[in-house]
Symmetry: C2
Subunit: 245 residues, 2 copies
């Protein structure tokens, strides 16, 4: 599906005059700041029902503000399965959340004819504060933590218990590895109850699933000493790991 851009009268309203203003811009600005705000929005576009909002068409990093309409965000997993991870309605900002973090395999699709305002991040930074290594790092921290927290939780709803546990183990392994610890031999710090709560299943199910993995020689486990024997098999159970960046 492609996207049509038209220029019509109501696409040119200034931010400070927009009905959605209170939804998407901060309160209590002085006149000078309001003036600067009006320079933020680089363009507004109409998006037809069933068309996608392609981020890359508007520069790598842009914030979208939904002026009118309704969207869904769909993430495509490696195996071809899709999952809706969010809906967006008028006043919502799109592009700072989950869909921004999981790169290149997400689609933001209009569920009805819509109008979107586009604010390039570079412009936000011009207005908000001088570009600055520390500041951009803080933003990076935001992003990466959201990613780590979410990437597991995000798809839990659609996973069965084997997928959940396999995903959890691989995720844990990757986190250990990235910190210089062994990703193969892991000393679990949390109880089966904690794992169960995290994965949204019962602790008995965690036990049973781990037992199944042990029987299949995917892992060794006594007490909390975990040894991963067959990463490949775990990955295929976990759907080849959208979760492990």
């Amino acid at each position: 599906m492609d996207m049509r851009i038209k220029t019509s009268s109501d696409l040119n309203i200034a931010c400070s005059k927009c009905l959605q203003y209170s939804q998407c811009m901060p309160q209590g600005l002085n006149d000078y700041e309001k003036q600067r705000i009006d320079t933020l929005v680089s363009q507004r576009v109409r998006i037809k029902k069933d068309s996608d909002l392609h981020r890359l068409n508007y520069g790598e990093k842009a914030l979208f503000i939904l002026r009118a309409g309704f969207f869904k965000t769909v993430i495509s997993q490696h195996d071809g399965r899709d999952q809706v991870v969010g809906f967006h309605m008028s006043g919502d900002s799109i592009g700072l959340g989950v869909e921004q973090n999981i790169e290149n395999n997400s689609k933001i699709t209009a569920l009805e004819d819509s109008v979107v305002c586009i604010v390039p991040f570079t412009k936000i930074e011009e207005v908000a504060n001088p570009s600055n290594l520390l500041h951009s790092h803080v933003r990076h921290l935001f992003r990466t933590e959201i990613k780590r927290e979410n990437s597991v939780m995000l798809f839990l709803g659609s996973m069965n218990s084997e997928e959940r546990v396999a995903t959890f183990l691989l995720n844990l392994s990757a986190n250990h590895e990235s910190r210089g610890f062994s990703g193969t031999n892991i000393n679990l710090k949390m109880s089966r109850y904690d794992i169960a709560s995290y994965l949204g299943i019962k602790h008995e199910t965690v036990s049973r699933t781990l037992a199944k993995f042990i029987k299949g020689n995917l892992i060794n486990l006594n007490l909390r000493f975990l040894k991963i024997l067959n990463f490949k098999a775990l990955h295929s159970i976990a759907n080849d790991g959208i979760l492990v960046s």
Copy 2:
């Protein structure tokens, strides 16, 4: 559980000399910037196994960086049920993600003896850029979007289908309300398939659950015209709505 603070030699290492440095601070800083980084961390604390990291003890808004150890974040729902929403290991930053958004009902508990560095947000702002309304608003956007996206998704894993659908309907209603639309009569823009995908259940289950709600006079629904008849009942099904702020 309370928390002990000790001052011992290894608690006073400068950030720029810390082993975790590459995990938690940006690369490529010049000497001046490194000097400023070292002023960021206001203190480091030891936290005993099974003790909690109390955010409020360190000013309302602080970023915690886990120097050594292992934590879990648990959110308590209204009905008393707890859910683990994240695990944290060395090098992780804590306090920018989910646990920050759902206020006052989350606990961050050490699963083993740990050491945490504390960076007040105010200090980050001093160093990163002048305090600025627009900048703080961008941060606010980050937060709120995360909150909205997550608050539904976060607990999906532990909900049954009735809880999922009730939660979805109430969430949708609240979003409509907050934008000045009716929260009672809603025109669904998305298909049953979209709802199913979002909630991690099958579309047949969505149909059946909606049918059950109709029979119980909780809602009216023909095609995509939804009328919510009994909010109270929906709320009690959805666990009294941790999701609706």
